[in-house]
Amino acid sequence: MVKEFDIPALPTYLETPKLKEGVMDGEGPFKSAQEFQNPLGFPGEKVDNWQKVAIDKIGEIKSKYRSVQVFLDSCVKCGACTDKCHYFLGSSDPKNMPVARQDLFRSVYRRYFTFAGKYFPKLVGAKELDNDMLDDWYNYFHQCSQCRRCSVFCPYGIDTAEISMAAREVLDVVGIGQKYCNQILGKALTIGNNLGLPEPALRDTLLDLEEEIEEETGGIAVKYPLDQKGAEILLITPSADFFAEPHIDGLIGYGKVFHQDGVSWTLSSYASEGANFGMFIGSYDVMRKAALRIRKAALDLEVSRVMVGECGHAWRVAYSFWNTLSGVGVGAADEFSQKLQDQLDHRYPQPQHIIEYTHDLIQRGKLVFDKSANDDRTVTFHDSCNVARATNMGGILGGQFILPREVIKSVCNNYVDMERSTIKESTFCCGGGGGLLTDDLMEIRVKGAMPRMQALKTVEKDNGVNTLAAICAICKSQFSKVLPKFDFDPYMIVSVHQLVSEAIIMDKRKIEVQEDKSEVD
């Protein structure tokens, strides 16, 4: 059951709201049941000595994560981050100000781990970890999409996402997990993807897709190979891509690009998921388990390249963490990683983003487009948080901003950016990241989307923007749901590779002629 709530009006200018204490108080998202908790190694329900377990876990985390330790000690309460969170801007709840959110954690840390907090708790704002505090943790740390916008503006780079991940790990360890994330992780770790699509279902879906494309393109056989040993590229993509609009249109785009390049590629039924919700619950071990599946798939299928589809946090985990977690990259020590690294083709970055790949093909003149196919669209690009603030593309400074825009501009004639302070490293979150993409959190999702919607409204009015392109499965799902709440067309959200798909000219012969010509040149 979803509770009724006000949908914020879109202001002409984004203003910092007056504080309204307690508006987002509540129970938080649905709690995870035993059946989802235990497989991840967490207790099924709140343990009896939860307080001790929690404090011990805080102690462990702060000794394992420099980020947490330094961030807890360094905040000066300058307030620079207070008006940077989309959830605060949309909800006016002061506990959604990044520093106040961190303080739920920090005040407990102070109380149990610092001299000042032990002996002068009132003076330094140190607080007991009691039931009320624990409820606040569960509620408000599930109102953070770990988007890291606040961190960009903090003079010490204090990253609320790190604190919210740590808090969620503590909550999991005392037995209060979030249903959405933990249930999904269970599916990903057993069946291979978040949707729980088993191999036969996946195979069927892909066959249907092949047929559909063949019909649509008038007989061009674009293939979606599954578990094909010896393929060059293993594509790891969010399982949403196999399933629903607008995601699947992106998958169609990838297939067409691979087809035009003439490269052999495959999906894996064992690791049919790019998303790694282990990051959302802050668990290194769970995240690693999910990442190891990908290493295994790459080894089993003997591929020489690993590529990631359009998914924001999947790309963050792949780009920044895979090498650490499972040795997809360079320089790992253990046997399996070494084997993989010998197997990978290091002329390409490993892993590589599909945008990097398509961009490279465009640069080399390998793809031909009819841009006018997208002439009914005026496109703007939503920089997804994890891509924008936590990764790079193309190995050039700010490549994660440049490459997707260049790809879009190569396939469309009409492109406009939203207001500068709402894009690139300052991009506003879609409101659904960080494990919040669940119906029981609809209120915070809609409120948190407000700043992004406001910027979109402006370019809609001023420039006639009617298409919002994104490269993240969560963004796409979230926008499909919240766009209509703000009187936008829900179908205006598209994959970047959908735009590619619509403009690409699927004429193999023409491409070959072009290639010959360029060789003569």
Binding site: R66, S67, S74, V76, T82, K296, S320, T324
Partner: protein
Amino acid sequence: MSVISIFFTALFYISLIVFFIGMVKKIYQFGITPAPLKIPIAPTPLTQKGVVMRIIREIVLFESLFRSNKWIWLFGWLFHIGLLLILIRHIRYFWPYDLPDIFLLTQSFKYAAFVMVIGLIGLMLRRIFVDRIRYISAPSDYLMLIMLLIIGISGMIMTFTSNHTDIIMVKEFASGLVSFNWKNLPTEVYFLIHIFLVFVLMAIFPISKLLHMPGIFFSPTLNQVDNARSKRHIAPWALKQEKEHAIRLKQILGKDE
């Protein structure tokens, strides 16, 4: 030596020791705590040189703060730059020998006190009147500003009004602390307040938010190079875990990991 001089002399060393031990412990703790994952935040430098430049810009110009909020930036920056200039000017008091000529240059730094106090007042007003910042403030946040304000204002009273303190005595006392040649200190009330609070501040440095000073160098979002794909980054505890896991993997080879 008078009782009060003995008290302040002792307080100085105690504070200094607390400061020193506390800071070493904290920096050591920051240093040994591993950063298991690459988490640099955009705009992210791709090279080590870029990281160094980024930290320098943060420390000298408060770049992120500038991007964030011009008022906080202005007051924060004025306060810090004022404080820095004044600290430099104070070296003369602790210098146990004849003053080298270079110190003449720092003479005019005394006016930085105004800059510092203006910055502090601005920060204080924001803390009181902007509801968001009031909401996040604990008593210690105000207290810290008040202490700094009293230190700054008492110093200004001694420098710019007729309440001068015996500068020769100050110099003898202060340089005596450094060279272990202890002397009496002047007992004017402004001076006593001034140095009392300075010593207290020194002592609470390692247990307060003043830890942002070493903290900024250890912040993984700021100090990491964005090169995870080309260089493996792994924490000792994770490596240990990985090795143990590898042994287990060998035993179940062929089966699912």
